[in-house]
């Protein structure tokens, strides 16, 4: 994958001890760690412990990461390993007669962890792009994303915007979002992924 320039900059600042950069990194990647934990159906306390260990390992390792682009993959692998460790302990407790680890059925999450990384990166880019939109766009799109979607008359009343302007404004805001640097970086990554993956065909279907 191509490096997202903003992540490279963040990792560099973190290595210099910048807490704000670290916070940003956690904001960006906590959904990835969380979503992987969710696959293993751990208790809330176990998920909290897995998270703690992953973040502490990241603090320890981040200075040694040679490629910032490897960070999502490292986080996903580390999270998965920590989840499995907890899961094995829980299973040992509940089923004393469980077969040894090498005879256990293949981990159902293994095949899709790569997809989880791609989704998380795409979501992070979308959120980063969204955060940089002008306030009017931010308010409008936030309202339009609520469940159930509000009627335009309600949007108009809340935002003080003529009903007739909502449609065009929505289109303009989404277009700004689409052309954000954050999304361009992610779409570039996806284009490269296609070239690498399609001949193998095993990720499809």
């Amino acid at each position: 994958m191509r490096d997202d320039p903003s992540v490279i900059a963040l990792v560099a600042r973190v290595s210099d001890g910048d807490q704000d950069a670290w916070d940003e990194l956690i904001e960006r990647y906590s959904p990835l760690v969380w979503s992987i934990c969710a696959r293993y159906q751990l208790s809330r306390q176990d998920v909290a412990d897995v998270g703690q260990n992953v973040w502490l390992l990241l603090v320890e390792q981040i200075g040694k990461l040679r490629e910032p682009a490897a960070l999502p993959g490292w986080l996903a692998t580390t999270t998965k390993r920590e989840c499995l460790r907890v899961l094995r302990a829980v299973r040992r407790h509940e089923h004393a007669g469980l077969p040894p680890e090498d005879q256990m059925p293949p981990d159902p999450a293994a095949t899709t962890i790569e997809q989880e990384i791609i989704t998380a990166e795409r979501n992070a880019a979308l959120r980063a792009a969204f955060a940089e939109l002008p306030r009017t766009c931010h308010e409008l799109l936030s309202m339009l994303m609520s469940d159930p979607p509000p009627a335009y008359v309600d949007v108009s009343a809340t935002l003080g915007m003529p009903v007739g302007s909502i449609g065009p404004m929505r289109a303009r805001c989404l277009d700004r979002l689409r052309h954000s640097q954050h999304l361009v970086a992610v779409l570039g990554n996806q284009a490269e992924d296609i070239e690498v993956r399609e001949p193998r065909g095993e990720h499809r279907g």
């Binding site: 906590s30 973040w55 989704t119 296609i194």
Partner: protein
């Protein structure tokens, strides 16, 4: 992939993707994110991480826990490359040992609240009293200068 990327040309699909992204972030509990942020306090501390490698409440055979019942003492083991910390839960305190046996300083860090510092004697024995009421971790510095930090412990 190409289908996903291309379809962002469509406003409805892009808005749906954004909604999914915003929800994915909203699904993460605030305390999970906060714990991640506070982990950075350890960035300038050159400590090894000690993982929980044994917990009697999870790892012991069923027969043992049935037999032990009322008299059961919970035992935990944390291991790092250079140091092992064993911990036993007694009714009113935690009794631990640093292995290989050596004197050290053990700092008990609750997730919230003040730290306490207890010494480990020359054979590595230490005790923590009272038992921390909530999640905590131990930071151990041996006299030889090895720093080890355990993961979070909830009793």
């Amino acid at each position: 992939m190409s289908i996903v990327a291309k379809s962002w040309d469509d406003d409805d699909t892009l808005l749906a993707a954004l909604k999914q992204a915003v929800h994915a972030r909203r699904d993460v509990p605030p305390e999970f994110v906060e714990a991640g942020k506070s982990a950075f306090a350890w960035h300038n501390i050159d400590a090894e991480l000690a993982q929980l490698t044994y917990d009697s409440s999870r790892d012991s055979e069923l027969a043992t826990s049935v037999r032990a019942e009322s008299a059961s003492i919970r035992a935990l083991t944390f291991s790092s490359a250079h140091l092992t910390i064993e911990l036993e839960v007694t009714p009113d305190s935690l009794v631990g040992q640093v292995i290989p046996a050596q004197s050290a300083v053990v700092t008990v860090q609750p997730r919230s609240g003040a730290e306490t510092v207890v010494p480990a004697d020359e054979i590595g024995l230490f005790s923590i009293r009272p038992i921390p009421p909530g999640p905590f971790r131990m930071y151990c510095r041996t006299d030889a200068g090895v720093d080890v930090l355990t993961g979070w412990i909830t009793l």
